[in-house]
């Protein structure tokens, strides 16, 4: 709004509610109108404020993709790494300085497709990080190719007659590999998602939240599902909240019901706890615990 007009109308210029967490100097962002990624970022911002974690300690790491652009918009130490490697990059950050809180924010293709090996191993190790995975069922940034999450029969540019490959059930994968917190929400569930992120941020170890998200421009268009808004309506009508559901039963079929909720919340020693405890046992006083670069002695 133009400044004189604002004054004349007596409008009070408020700060953007998320100014603390967004890089306002990078807005407008690159995401399409009615893309859901921005909503996931909003939930993340709300969760960060609620979690009370000092923001200077939080690092966000993304891989490559539309979802991978999140790191570029958050006013935190943020790293836009390589395709599929956000999890190992975050592993290095965390182990290089155990005081950091590491969050991986990226897409389904990035985290589960090309980066799947890192995902399963980090869950197994219970590496301290929160993984937020935007699942839009497709490789959006490259123009809509088949993903490891594309539902059976769905159309993509490299499955132009429909997908015949069985997709991953992400919560089941995370659960079976040892993640301590596993949830799934759609971006329609803004508050529930934010609460879930807050909860996961306050957990130690490997937490995973799958965020079902409309890709209006590519996935919706190719599959004639209408606009992003129509997809939100679909989520509204078709998501079923079922906390504690058996993760084996969370497959997502093409335009079928989507089960959401918190499925796993358990305790397990983290990678660093195990490393430190074991070495204390073996070496006693001789063990030199590593506390980060500023931990001079």
């Amino acid at each position: 709004m133009n400044e004189t007009l604002t004054k004349e109308m007596g409008v009070i210029e408020e700060k953007h509610p998320m100014e603390n967490i967004l890089r306002m100097d990078r807005i407008p962002h690159i995401w399409c109108p009615t893309c859901g990624i921005g909503i996931a970022v909003t939930s993340f911002a709300i969760a960060l404020e609620k979690s009370k974690i000092p923001l200077d300690q939080v690092c966000v790491v993304s891989g490559i993709g539309c979802s991978g652009r999140v790191a570029g918009y958050v006013k935190l130490d943020s790293f836009h790494s390589t395709h599929g490697r956000a999890i190992p990059f975050a592993t290095g950050l965390k182990l290089g300085n155990p005081k950091l809180k590491t969050v991986v924010f990226s897409g389904d293709g990035d985290i589960i497709g090309i980066g799947g090996n890192h995902f399963i191993h980090s869950a197994r190790r219970n590496m301290d990080m929160l993984v937020l995975c935007i699942n839009n069922f497709i490789y959006a940034m490259t123009g809509g190719q088949l993903a490891a999450t594309t539902p059976l029969t769905a159309n993509t540019s490299t499955s132009p007659y429909g997908n015949y490959e069985t997709p991953f059930n992400l919560p089941y994968l995370a659960d079976s590999c040892g993640a301590v917190y596993v949830a799934r929400w759609t971006v329609l569930h803004v508050r529930r998602l934010a609460n879930s992120i807050t909860e996961a941020l306050n957990k130690k170890g490997f937490s995973f939240i799958e965020i079902i998200c409309p890709c209006s421009t590519i996935y919706a268009r190719r599959n004639r599902l209408g606009s992003g808004l129509d997809l939100m309506k679909f989520y509204h009508d078709n998501s079923i909240i079922k906390h504690g559901a058996n993760t084996k039963e969370l497959d997502i079929g093409f335009q079928q019901k989507i089960i959401v909720g918190k499925f796993v919340d358990r305790e397990r020693p983290t990678f660093l706890e195990s490393l430190n405890d074991w070495n204390r046992k073996v070496f006693g006083d001789k063990f030199k615990e590593y506390g980060g670069p500023d931990d001079g002695d």
Partner: protein, 385 residues
């Protein structure tokens, strides 16, 4: 800054090259090591995993070399001196994230104990055929620093040197050793900690409002911060401006790539290091690096006994290449003789640098073993013809 005595195994030891690299890394203050087992480099991380609990730092065996290299870049940005170690196939897997390290200007060290290739090649036998891959194996244009030790003693010192150079120039630095040096056991003297000089990373003193993470300092190297310092920086593998924000146009590309390349090229005089012997009145100069520089000794002695004036230029730093010195020498000599365990890599750089002033004669070897000194002697004889 001096090395920390608690990390330095001062004394006289008998170590193989791999173990000496491990001791060098610990002495250099390396606190993060990620690796994936691969012959003939595994002994480096084996020794580190044995020593690290009582020295301080973290070793993690990652799920593959892509992960190792990505983790090293992350650890570097959290303020750790970070290392990974590998050989041929693993080196190939690291390439994309080596490019990321260049783009994010993350100081880090990569040790490549070279073996015979291509592909799985000769896992347990030597090679020097990754010398071009180390330079430009990742896509795009960039410069790196690479050193080549020819003994376990040098493995120790060059690993420290690699850390110092990588911290100074914020660039990946490589220790390009090979199976022979990696597995040979020799006396290694580890000096006292206060005799080991370490370069301390330059962290900014500017407040967050004034700090630009990719604004070059006087030697074209930006001052760094580490994650968690409250600067809330953004770093991306996309082409970016001084703020670190992506900019998708040719002007930004020109500015960034040019600086990444020039921060090494323009500082080459500071980085380049070589050893020279009897080059004053030489007619032939044997230009060598790594294990081949030792194998050449009998050949040089035999030629000298026949009255041939053979000088030696032995590269300590291979990249950046000492092109100025090679050109100066080329004007006084008949030829450079270049033995390498490949079919012609560094010799190409010699040919380029002599600008037609003298010959560059390759003595190749396919790998799996070192040269027979007789072959190098024949190369010298051919050169004087």
């Amino acid at each position: 800054m001096k090395a920390d005595p608690k990390r330095v195994l001062t004394g006289e030891h008998y170590l193989d090259g791999d173990h000496a690299c491990a001791e060098g890394a610990l002495a250099a203050g390396c606190t993060f090591i990620a690796g994936y087992p691969i012959t003939p480099s595994t002994e480096v991380v084996e020794r580190i995993s044995e020593r690290i609990p009582t020295v301080g730092g973290i070793f993690i065996q990652m799920e593959d070399e892509l992960a190792s290299m990505a983790a090293v870049v992350g650890a570097s940005w959290s303020g750790a001196k970070a290392l990974t170690v590998t050989s041929g196939p693993g080196f190939s897997l690291m390439m994309e994230n080596i490019g990321l390290a260049c783009m994010l200007e993350a100081p880090c060290v990569i040790i490549n104990v070279q073996r015979g290739g291509p592909s799985t090649g000769l896992p347990t036998l030597t090679g020097q055929a990754d010398m071009m891959q180390v330079r430009w194996g990742s896509h795009g244009d960039y410069e790196i620093i690479a050193l080549s030790p020819n003994s376990p003693q040098e493995c120790f010192f060059f690993t420290i040197k690699a850390f110092n150079l990588s911290e100074k120039y914020r660039v990946p630095a490589f220790v390009m050793t090979d199976e022979c040096v990696g597995h040979m056991t020799e006396k290694v003297i580890i000096p006292e900690a206060d005799k080991i000089e370490l370069f301390q990373r330059r962290y900014t003193k500017l407040p967050p409002e004034e700090y630009l993470p990719f604004k070059p300092g006087p030697n074209l190297v930006p001052e760094m911060v580490k994650a968690g310092d409250g600067y809330r920086i953004h770093a991306t593998g996309l082409t970016h401006d001084e703020k670190g924000y992506p900019v998708m146009n040719w002007e930004a590309q020109e500015k960034l790539v040019r600086r990444l390349v020039e921060k090494i090229r323009k500082n080459a005089d500071d980085i380049v290091e070589y050893e020279e012997e009897e080059t004053d009145d030489a007619e032939i100069v044997l230009l060598s690096y790594g294990i081949s520089s030792r194998v050449a000794i009998p050949a040089i002695q035999k030629a000298r006994a026949e009255g041939i004036k053979v000088g030696v230029l032995r590269l300590i730093v291979v990249w950046p290449f000492p092109e100025k010195r090679v050109y100066e020498l080329s004007k006084k000599i008949k030829a450079f003789v270049v033995p390498e365990i490949n079919y012609g890599q560094i010799v190409l750089e010699v040919e380029r640098s002599v600008h037609g002033e003298c010959d560059a004669i390759l003595v190749p070897h396919g790998g799996g073993w070192v040269h027979n000194p007789e072959d190098i002697y024949r190369g010298i004889k051919e050169a004087v013809k």
